[in-house]
Subunit: 224 residues, 2 copies
DNA sequence: GTTTGAAAGATTACACATAATTAATATTGG
DNA sequence: CCAATATTAATTATGTGTAATCTTTCAAAC
């Protein structure tokens, strides 16, 4: 097990590092392996410089988390992420995010808000790929300390699926600008500690994101 | 792999059958293994009449699903289900159930409602243990066909954790009666296809259940 | 074009070797 | 003599190789 990943690990959302589990999940999140791809144990063992069992165990864990689908005697594949998955994930996020955010509005510290502002500043000069990472960091920061860590984990997993689906689709500048503006509004409402306002912006933010991606991915679905 | 379980598998909530995964999960849900218990691979392999590797893989899958916690070089344990877990699980259910139920109210068929009524009838003469099973079946029936299978799976998992926590605590008759009444109200509101009414009863139903168990399990926590 | 059958490839389960942890025992200091 | 620590023994986890079984693939025959 002396494999070194070229690409950096999707920082905040993948806890464990330097494990086969993390490598595979990272490769799924970065669309190195895409929806439906076969995950052959021998190939993976070779790629990550280890034997079959550790790979099988990593795949089983990923199966439990929903990223991989295993058919008996037929092997593992990256789970099918299609249009319906996008809808499902967004609807779950739409339940979770207001719930997680509400706590943050009331309990966050000044330093949290300053960190968010720092991220916002970085966003303004970020490229497409950097932006996605900053966006993830922004929301991760707001949720990660929530008392309901089960819910946080749920959010994390759904967010990773989203990243996997979006990895090879570019974000257009109009949407980035709109998204930055929404983040700014969130921070502003946070300063006032106005729960209703924050949740309002959040709902709009998720809704817009959902609309954007569903439009995009429905097209790419129609093509393939 | 020729192990035969004495106790029947928690029927609807555990899909796979006759697998080590299902056996272990079933034993967790029935509190054969309780929160914090060490899950030693060799022991489990012996118990379920198989070798170590399949056990390890089952444990990894259960880890991914949150039922088992694995520490490097130190092995697997049943995840810690304590008072905070109860709160977390109930809050997640409180988000999920209205979401899942809303669809059912609008889309369910007459035969679904008849099945629910049949379950209700059985509830009225059920013992404590049977009641819990019927209650699970009731809600499973309402959710299992929802278009968002990711959400359904989420509900399933959280419900299993609840079952694991409640397995060795008895349900008192007052709560059973109250619970039956709530189910009756749900069916009634379903007949009218009145979303608001159903969600109202549901919120109360979950709330009451949460109150009941938190009171009970906080006591058992204080004792231990 | 469909079916059949053989060969290659992969999955699964098992046994073994090694490394780490846990426990049990002995030793030391107060 | 007791408590805390150190040492040793047992247990357990982890990773590798291998054999058997099942799938898939590909080519030949119908």
């Amino acid at each position: 097990m002396s494999y070194v990943e070229e690409q950096s690990v999707i920082s905040p959302l993948i806890n464990e590092e330097s494990t086969i589990y993390a490598y595979i999940l990272n490769d799924i999140a970065n669309a190195v392996f895409v929806s439906g791809d076969r995950l052959v144990t021998t190939k993976l063992a070779e790629k990550y410089q280890t034997s079959i069992n550790p790979v099988r165990e990593a795949l089983k864990q990923l199966q439990g988390e929903g990223f991989v689908t295993v058919s008996p005697n037929s092997g593992a594949r990256v789970s099918i992420f299609e249009y319906n998955t996008l809808r499902d994930v967004f609807e779950i996020l739409q339940l979770l995010e207001p719930y997680l955010m509400e706590w943050f509005v009331e309990e966050h510290l000044l330093e949290d808000r300053l960190e968010l502002k720092a991220l916002l500043t970085k966003m303004e000069t970020a490229t497409d790929l950097e932006y996605r990472n900053l966006d993830t960091q922004f929301h991760w920061l707001t949720y990660k300390n929530h008392y309901n860590q089960k819910a946080v984990d749920l959010w994390r997993r759904n967010r990773l699926i989203l990243l996997a689906m979006q990895a090879n689709v570019k974000l257009n500048t109009t949407r980035i600008k709109q998204s930055i503006e929404e983040h700014r509004e969130i921070i502003h409402a946070l300063e006032e500690r106005d729960v209703t306002a924050v949740l309002g912006v959040m709902a709009r933010h998720i809704g817009n994101s959902g609309k954007y991606w569903s439009r995009y991915l429905s097209v790419s679905n129609r093509i393939s």
